[in-house]
Amino acid sequence: MIQDVLTVARKEWLEIIDQLLRFKRGGWSILLVVLFLGVISPLQMGTTWLSSPLMFFYWPLLTSSMTSTLIADSIAGERERHTLETLLASRLPDAAIISGKILAAVLYGFTFAALNLAIGWTVVNVRHYAGELLWIPLPRVASLFALIVAGSFFIAGLGVFVSLRAATVRQAQQTFGVIILVLMMTPVLFVQLTSTDFQVRVLARVGTMGLEALSFRIAAAIGGIAVLLNLFAIQRFRRGRLSLD
């Protein structure tokens, strides 16, 4: 089973790499993101880039966004490019196909985040080197990556459902975009509906807890939901029930 999952994930990665290497067909866009997040942003923020609380917001968001583009393509893309039926005619188990696609998408987001963080860290150190290397505190890195991985798995689990039902990649991306927007807006709307007193109490609690601890707790909650979502996605993916056309 693990061998089959890795086989599917490997194939997905080969396709991603090909797409990234095709510079004229959109491969350049990824370099633009790397340039902005890995170079320009650290240069602008300086050493605060290493400790800014904003990283708990935009890194998971960025990673989830990268994961979402790939996962939306996972089944809908195979269907649109007429490769799904042949894939289903192979001996690969249902669970291995969907797990391999989820794994590839999560790894894609994670690798992208890790790579950009590494580039950003290098840029900050090159620009502000004063005899010793500047580091992001380990608990912060750990909690950040916990949030990134949990967020990516959550998005991947959700995206599989969208991709399973969509006829085309465009349809999957549009539907998924709306769902992500709703998910992002829900906490904002929720906060607006609560009393000022409640908001003050929550902020005080967060203040005493620390960003890292809060991040771990959010990651655990999202991770829990992600596990359920992914298990449900794996259970739902049955070749006999799929629309092939």
Binding site: T7, K11, R81, H82, E85, T86, A89, R91, G240, L242
Partner: protein, 326 residues
């Protein structure tokens, strides 16, 4: 008793607005090329999907090597290779990467995998371009790659849905030879769908003809021809006017007739004979220039089976029967 490679029993598959398969029943013995023929939308692809366990039947069932694809889909697919309606190649990947992905999926070990990929790509003339993204290839090349993929893991059963579509005549002939060799020498069962009826007649030991989900006929192509292929006669001459032909259509030896470019094509009734027809025409002043007796082609038999209006074969203006001995 030999277990059939494929057994289909009372198979029904309904889609929301249409019954795609309507109580299909047939057996395919192992080690032969079986041709599954029918017009577009007849249900051929649906049968293949059910047999591969990627579509569930509504009623009835199917077995592949004695296994129910619903319950033993993984085992069935492990023993089958498939080129389906679309070639299913990954266009962003190279030929080697395409085959390697499926070889890994079939759990072929690295040594066997590499040797087999090299052999197949060389056999299909694709080795020189093995590292190019397949998206840049011609349709025929992609089709060859898809066929290589279908036989990659040496399965005992291969489903080929229109395998020669997009191939040039030389490649098609070569593929036909390969398919015959696979069936005759290696005992592989080949389930073939094709619109090329001459190809089906040449290759297939058995054929099934399907239309609107119903099996219309089943048997060896020669048996289908002899069962339905009543002789026809081409008569060329002068004086074959419309009024005369209308009278001719009514005489006992004639089952039906239609004009063709040079005269008339007459389908002989079961107890009819040609001299009586010729004598009838001569007696009415027709100057006979040529009388040629033919048998119906397999294509005519097929068209008769699937024609919805019941028009008998051999009398269509654009489908003249083939010469005897073809």
């Amino acid at each position: 008793m030999t277990v059939p490679a494929i057994r289909v029993a009372g198979l029904v598959r309904d889609f929301p607005k249409v019954r795609a398969l309507d109580r299909l029943t047939f057996d395919v013995p192992p080690g032969i090329v079986f041709g599954f023929l029918g017009p577009n939308g007849a249900g051929k692809t649906t049968v293949i999907r059910v047999l591969l366990g990627i579509l569930e039947p509504t009623e009835g069932g199917a077995e592949v090597f004695g296994l129910d694809p619903r319950r033993h889909g993984s085992t069935v697919r492990a023993r089958a290779g498939a080129l389906l309606e679309h070639n299913g190649v990954y266009e962003r990947l190279s030929a080697v990467q395409n085959l390697e992905f499926y070889a890994r999926a079939w759990h072929m070990n690295a040594g066997d995998r590499n040797a087999r990929i090299r052999d197949l790509l060389s056999q299909f003339g694709l080795w020189e371009r093995r590292d190019e993204p397949v998206g840049d290839w011609s349709r025929g090349m992609k089709q060859k790659l898809a066929i290589a993929r279908a036989v990659l893991h040496r399965p005992p059963l291969v489903f080929l849905d229109e395998p020669t579509a997009g191939l040039d005549p030389v490649a098609s002939a070569s593929l036909r030879d390969d398919l015959m060799r696979l069936a005759q020498q290696e005992g592989v069962t080949i389930f073939l769908t094709t619109h090329n009826l001459a190809e089906a007649e040449r290759l297939c030991a058995l054929v099934g003809v399907i239309r609107r989900g119903k099996l219309l006929d089943f048997g060896a192509p020669t048996a289908l021809r002899s069962a339905r292929g009543a002789p026809v006669v081409h008569i060329a001459g002068h004086g074959l006017d419309d009024a005369l032909l209308a009278d001719l259509a009514g005489i006992t030896p004639v089952a039906s007739l239609e004009r063709d470019n040079s005269g008339v094509v007459v389908r002989i009734a079961p107890d009819g004979d040609v001299p009586a027809i010729v004598a009838w025409l001569v007696a009415r002043g027709v100057g006979i220039e040529e009388v040629r007796r033919d048998h119906l082609s397999f294509e005519d038999v097929f068209l008769e089976l699937v024609s919805s209006d019941g028009t008998p074969p051999g009398v269509r203006a654009h489908t003249p029967p083939a010469r005897e001995g073809r």
